[in-house]
Structure formats: structure tokens, C-alpha cells
């Protein structure tokens, strides 16, 4: 304990050096937060669709490896599944990419259009007023308020062009843009068929994107799934909603280099932090070589000295972490506003970065303390 206190006293003895080092560490902490924020933002926004599905099991085309792709499967399969034992009810969701014209400046952006049955939507959007009943009127849609700003400043009652059709905004919901689409639109089935009127009507109505199934209370989910996979032809995939969400979250990391990009960013930030921290410890030890050697001469062991240096490093890391977390929180809000990517600063993530920061401190201490270990107290005389 006394050694920790000594580390603390040595650290705070020169406030200027401490301040500079803190800023350096705070900088590394902010970079780590940003890298992690972007990374999580990507994954979170990829998984946002999975989260609003109201289902126990989700059917999709076998090759559909993420919810933003547009493979379709036959509605008949879903109907078959509805009849299977243990299944209570279900809903079918159409999904296709289309263009949305910005009503303010006429620019065109890709959006994902979901088609649902207003009487059986299969989506949970508690914040969306009037959903899904308002979709029963022809050519009305719900617009994702958190779509990118380039899509225009959209308010209920506005009109715009979606694909081939003129549509009217019946209401707004909250989902969030992602890296595949600039925004989301939900339409009733009739409107959906109208928007994609140029396609073959037969295939359009038959090809659903997702088949949602709700099970009877007490039904064995795993059993139902196995049974479905067994009885249906093998062109469909059946996942639990949780599996789907996990798959979605991991998808970006798996299918795109963002995981590597941001992972590298995180690692680089960590290394920067270690270097900054090591630099301070190095100077600190250089300035105290004679003192450390004296301690060794009078009977301190390596682990005592290690404790002093490590306490310094960890205290310094904490000092740097606090302003870092504050700055990161501020930056998250700004980035969220500018990029419309969800930047979620959850306690778990704060803890994660804190842990990385402490790892950073201990690692630099482990490097720096070698100087002390090598020290020969006989050279003091």
C-alpha cells in the first residue's frame, strides 16, 4: 500500500508532466473509444432490423446471410410452416431495395423497402404513431426518421417518389441508417406491390424476404425448428430471433474488412497509449535511477519496485481515462449527429475501454520496469 502511495506521490510531484501525459493518454483513450464506437455502430445498425422483428423463429432463403440482402423464398414455404405443430401464427415480410427521391432537392438515394400486412405486421415499432393501421390507405408509407439526412427532411403528410410510385408519408419510425442503405421505408403489401409494379406480379407476390413464426406458449423452440428443417425442402433457413440478431451483429465483421480496419485502429490506439505511458514512465525512472538503485541496495526486491512503477502507470491511466471518456462521450454525440450512425456508449463498453486502458498501463509498466530490474546498486558508489 505504501508503495502505491509512493507511486502516487512521484506521479503528482510534477503536475506539468502529469498533465501532458494525461492528455496523451486521454487522446489514446478517445481514439480507442472512437474506433470501438464506429465498429459497434456498424454492427448495431446492421442488427437493427433483427431487433424489431416480432417472432420466435425466422425463416429466410438458405443463401440469405444477412437481412440487408434481397434473396427471396416462396411464400408457400411459410404457409407450410404455419401449419406445422407448435406454430401459433406468423407474418410474412417483403423486402427490396428501391430509390427514394428527396422531396426537397430531388436527389435520389437507395433505401430498403419493407412490405408488410397492416393487419399482421410482424414488426414491433411502439414509437411509431398510427402504425400499422395508417398503412391500409393506398400509397402510404412509414419513413425511418433516422435515415440519412440526404434523403430530405421528411415529415408526416409529405409526398415523394419511391421507385415507380408517388407515396405519402403516413408516419415515422426509428430504425437508423446503415452502410448498405441510406434509409428504410415500410409499406403495406398493396403499396409495396405498386412500388415494384414493374416486376413480374406472380413472382413479386410469391417472393417473401422473411417468414416470421410465433410459437404456441410452452412450445419447444428447438424441436419446432428441427421439425421444420426436416419437413421443408432445404432451400430455407430457420433461425431463432436471437441467433438472427447475433448473426447480423457479426455479419459486418465477417463479410467486410471493417472488423479488421477498426480492430487495427483499436490496436494502434492501444499501442499509442502504451508508448505515451511508457515514455512517461521511462523519463520518471531515468530521473530516479539513483533512488531506485538505493532502494535496491537497502533491500527492496524487484517486485517492490515493480509495484511502484505499476501503480504509477495505472494511476496515470486512470487519470487519462477520465477526461478521455468525457471527450469520447461528447464526440459520440457529434458523430452520431453528423453520420447518423448509432454511437452507443453503454456501461459495458466504457468498462471495456477502461480495461484496455489498464492493460495499456500495465504493459508499459512491464516494459519500463526492466530498466529498474537491470539496475546494479553496486554502481551507486
Amino acid at each position: 500500500m505504501h508503495l502505491v502511495l509512493t507511486g502516487w506521490r512521484m506521479l503528482v510531484y510534477s503536475p506539468r508532466r502529469l498533465l501532458l501525459s494525461c492528455l496523451g493518454i486521454a487522446f489514446a483513450v478517445v481514439i480507442m473509444f472512437m474506433q470501438m464506437g464506429f465498429f459497434n455502430g456498424l454492427n448495431d445498425s446492421q442488427a437493427n432490423l433483427a431487433r424489431i422483428l416480432d417472432a420466435d423463429l425466422v425463416m429466410s432463403h438458405r443463401d440469405k446471410d444477412n437481412l440487408k440482402s434481397t434473396e427471396e423464398f416462396s411464400r408457400k414455404r411459410w404457409r407450410q410452416a404455419l401449419a406445422a405443430p407448435g406454430v401459433a401464427s406468423g407474418a410474412a415480410v417483403y423486402a427490396s431495395a428501391s430509390y427514394w427521391w428527396n422531396p426537397q432537392d430531388g436527389s435520389r438515394n437507395r433505401v430498403l423497402v419493407l412490405g408488410i400486412d397492416p393487419d399482421n405486421p410482424g414488426l414491433r415499432l411502439p414509437q411509431a404513431a398510427g402504425f400499422p393501421q395508417s398503412l391500409k390507405r393506398a400509397d402510404t408509407i412509414f419513413y425511418d426518421r433516422r435515415s440519412r439526412r440526404e434523403l430530405g427532411n421528411i415529415l408526416p403528410g409529405m409526398e415523394s417518389t419511391l421507385g415507380q410510385a408517388r407515396v405519402k408519408v403516413a408516419g415515422l419510425f426509428d430504425l437508423g441508417a446503415n452502410f448498405s442503405y441510406e434509409g428504410h421505408v415500410i409499406a403495406g403489401n398493396e403499396t409495396y406491390f405498386h412500388v415494384f409494379g414493374h416486376r413480374d406480379p406472380q413472382r413479386l407476390t410469391d417472393g417473401i424476404s422473411l417468414g416470421l413464426l410465433r410459437l404456441l406458449p410452452g412450445a419447444d423452440r428447438e424441436g419446432v425448428r428441427r421439425n421444420l428443417l426436416h419437413t421443408l425442402p432445404d432451400d430455407v433457413l430457420v433461425l431463432t430471433r436471437e441467433e438472427l440478431e447475433a448473426r447480423e451483429r457479426a455479419y459486418t465483421t465477417r463479410a467486410t474488412p471493417v472488423g479488421i480496419i477498426f480492430g487495427t485502429g483499436l490496436a494502434v490506439a492501444l499501442v499509442i497509449g502504451i508508448i505515451i505511458c511508457y515514455q512517461l514512465l521511462f523519463n520518471e525512472i531515468q530521473d530516479h535511477l539513483r533512488q531506485f538503485a538505493t532502494l535496491k541496495a537497502i533491500g527492496y526486491r524487484a517486485r517492490h519496485l515493480y509495484l511502484i512503477v505499476t501503480s504509477e502507470a495505472l494511476l496515470l491511466s486512470m487519470f487519462g481515462f477520465l477526461p478521455g471518456v468525457v471527450a469520447a462521450a461528447a464526440l459520440y454525440t457529434v458523430v452520431e449527429r453528423l453520420s447518423e450512425i448509432v454511437m452507443d456508449l453503454s456501461p459495458g463498453r466504457i468498462l471495456f475501454v477502461l480495461m484496455l486502458t489498464l492493460v495499456m498501463g500495465s504493459a508499459s509498466a512491464a516494459f519500463a520496469v526492466r530498466q529498474v530490474i537491470r539496475l546494479d546498486p553496486a554502481e551507486l558508489f
Binding site: H2, L3, T6, R9, M10, V12, Y13, S14, H288, R290, Q291, A293, T294, L295, A297, I298, G299, Y300, R301, P377, A378, L380, F381
Partner: protein, 386 residues
């Protein structure tokens, strides 16, 4: 009044520095120590066959030219370096062959004082002293008490919470000493403790060490070039080129000087030469009735009577005849040495006799080097009957 009753009458000349004899009194025993820096062809021998016994409670000053191996010797005694050859016993621990871990254990019983104070700038005087206490399992309150008391004794009671930056050089060195002595180590090693200090501060520090040695029977070895502090030593060891070139028991020598100075032969000698002679004198005891020198023997020593009465007798034609009585302060035995002849008389102890004696070699060297001594001798030879 005889000369034997001079000033420091009860000084025990048989046992240097007044310490009691016996192995239990040895603080440090160095035996046949050699030390090399480097290895193989580039190995350089810096210590040659060092033998040394240092008694408890002594202050030993080690001095000598730069590069003579003083610091190396100190680091060996302090278990800061591993011994290569020979043995050093530090109290009851043999240092030869200790593991690094065991060396750390030995060092915990040694107080180290360095040329620079090596205090933590960021810690107050009290906290710096605490650094030495932290290795012990003591209640926190006791540590506080100890640190404050030691600093108080060193005159730093008002400066407990000062950082080194606000202390003078002497005060800083005193804090460093407090750190070295707060655990009351039985042995203190100091390398040039006064080199960085002005005269007064240096004096302060040395007086302090003297007090520690006297009051706590702490053994102190000081390496120094500072001639101003030699007087604090019980013993001055001179190292030259890795060898002990002289080993001076200060108090004994001073005492002998005072004694022999009253003897006409040495009266006009310079103090420096006197200490040289005194240093080489050996105290010898002879029981009443025994012969100190015998007529016809080869001359080997010069004697100066310290205590007791001796009679000189000459044997001629088979008959022995007493020719003189010698008392404290009288000397004899010089003629055989100067002339390289056999003894021309027998001197026997009438009572128990103690003499300071010089070997032939040392006697001749002294005669050669000290003009006044030679003249004195010539005079006495003249006046004395052959």
C-alpha cells in the same frame, strides 16, 4: 610520576580501540579476498589478498589513492557484489556464495550512505525515511515514531515535512543518514559521505556517525579522501593498488605517540614521523625474572619500557655483573641493531615489564628517515658505555 601514568592511563593497549577480544566482537572479517573486474584476458585485479578484522563499535576510515579499490571493497562487504575469492564474514553470515536473494537479506541489516543523498525529490524527509522502514513489519504508528525520532535526533525535527528541494546540502545528507540508520543496522557503509558537503556540514555528519558508533555500538566503515574527518576514526586503513598499505589503530597510535614523545630520543621528532614510528611499535609483555634480551644473541628488536623495571647485566669471564636499572621511558637494544653486532648485555625483567618494541628493519628505517632520531641515537651511544 612515571611516564606510564600519562594522560590516557587506562587505555587498553593490548586490544585496539578499547574493544574486548573474542570472535563475537568481530563485525566484519575479511580473509584472503581477491577481486577481478572483467574476465579472461581482460580481467583486471583490483584487490590483492585483503585480510581485515573490523571490531564492533569501530569507525574505520578507508582511504587511499583514486582507483585503489576502496569502493570495490565496500561493495563486497555490503553484499552488493559477489565474492570471487576468499571470504567475508559479516557478523554471522558468510558472504561467499550467497544467492542474489540472500544478498538482499544481508543488505537489509546494513545502512548505506552514498556520496549523493539519493533522496526522492517527491517525498518529504519523513516519507524518505519511511522508505527504509517499509521493509519491516511494524505497526504504522511505530514507523512514524521511529522516523520522527531519528530525524529529530539529527536535528531535523522542524523539517519533517520538507521535501529535499527545500533543505540544505547538509540537511539532505542528514535525511539520507536518517534513512540509513532508522533500522539501527549493526553495520553502516559510507562512501565519501562528506564529499558533497561544505566543511561545517561535513563535520556535522561525521560527528553524528561518531555518536552512532559510541552510543549504539554501530560499526561504521567510511571511504573518504577528506583529511578533515580522519580524527573521528578508530582506525585508518590505507589501500594502495588493491593492497592494504597501512592499517593504523588511531587511538593506540595517538596514545603511543604521547608516551614516546616524553622520551628524549623521540622528543624532537615531528608528529608525522612520530606516528609512523608509533604505528609500528608492538606492545610486548615479560614476566618478572624473564630475559628480554640475552647477551650474545643476534639483535632483532629495539625496546622502550612502558611499564615495570628491568636490570641490565653483563657477563664477563664467567661472572655476571649488574650494570644498570631501567625504568619506564628508558630504552635499550639499539646498539646491536645499529652496529649489526650480537647483544652486548642481558636485560631481564625485575618486575613484570611491558615494552614497546620495534623490529630491526623498522628501527633502521626510522633511524635512516629521521635525522633527529639518528642524532639522538648517536648522542646516547656516545654517552653510554659499550
Amino acid at each position: 610520576m612515571t611516564m606510564a601514568d600519562s594522560q590516557i592511563r587506562d587505555h587498553d593497549l593490548h586490544h585496539p580501540a578499547g574493544a574486548q577480544a573474542g570472535a563475537g566482537n568481530d563485525a566484519v572479517t575479511v580473509r584472503d579476498v581477491d577481486f577481478y573486474f572483467g574476465s579472461g584476458d581482460s580481467a583486471r585485479r583490483v584487490l590483492h589478498n585483503i585480510n581485515l578484522r573490523i571490531l564492533r563499535g569501530q569507525i574505520v576510515i578507508m582511504t587511499g589513492p583514486s582507483g585503489s579499490g576502496k569502493t570495490t571493497m565496500l561493495t563486497l562487504i555490503g553484499a552488493l557484489r559477489s565474492l570471487q575469492q576468499g571470504s567475508i564474514r559479516c557478523f554471522d553470515t558468510e558472504l561467499r556464495g550467497l544467492s542474489l536473494e540472500q544478498q538482499v537479506g544481508v543488505r537489509r541489516n546494513i545502512g548505506f550512505i552514498f556520496q549523493s543523498h539519493n533522496l526522492f525529490e517527491s517525498l518529504t524527509a519523513r516519507q524518505n525515511v519511511h522508505m527504509a522502514l517499509e521493509l519491516r513489519t511494524l505497526p504504522e504508528a511505530d514507523k512514524h515514531r521511529l522516523a520522527d525520532r531519528v530525524l529529530g535526533e539529527l536535528g531535523l525535527a522542524e523539517r519533517l515535512d520538507y521535501r529535499p528541494g527545500r533543505l540544505s546540502g547538509g540537511q539532505r545528507q542528514r535525511v539520507a543518514i536518517a534513512r540509513a540508520v532508522v533500522n539501527t543496522p549493526p553495520l553502516i557503509l559510507a562512501d565519501e559521505p562528506t564529499a558533497a558537503l561544505d566543511k561545517d556540514s561535513g563535520r556535522e555528519v561525521i560527528d553524528l556517525l561518531r555518536r552512532l558508533a559510541d552510543e549504539q555500538r554501530c560499526t561504521i566503515i567510511i571511504v573518504t579522501h577528506d583529511s578533515r574527518i580522519m580524527d573521528a576514526a578508530d582506525r585508518i586503513i590505507n589501500l594502495t593498488d588493491g593492497r592494504i598499505s597501512s592499517d593504523l589503530d588511531v587511538r593506540r597510535t595517538l596514545y603511543i605517540c604521547q608516551f614516546i614523545k616524553q622520551c628524549p630520543v623521540f622528543k624532537d621528532m615531528l608528529l608525522n614521523d612520530l606516528t609512523d614510528v608509533a604505528q609500528h611499535m608492538e606492545l610486548q609483555s615479560f614476566a618478572a625474572g624473564s630475559e628480554i634480551i640475552r647477551q650474545g644473541d643476534a639483535g632483532d628488536r629495539f625496546h622502550l619500557i612502558y611499564r615495570g623495571t628491568a636490570t641490565v647485566s653483563v657477563r664477563q669471564n664467567g661472572a655476571s655483573r649488574e650494570v644498570a636499572t631501567l625504568n619506564s621511558g628508558d630504552f635499550f637494544g639499539e646498539l646491536a641493531l645499529l652496529r649489526d653486532e650480537p647483544r652486548n648485555a642481558t636485560v631481564s625483567a625485575a618486575t613484570d615489564v611491558e615494552t614497546f618494541s620495534l623490529s630491526k628493519g623498522q628501527f633502521l628505517a626510522a633511524v635512516r628517515d629521521h635525522k633527529s632520531f639518528e642524532e639522538q641515537m648517536a648522542n646516547t651511544m656516545f654517552s653510554r658505555r659499550a
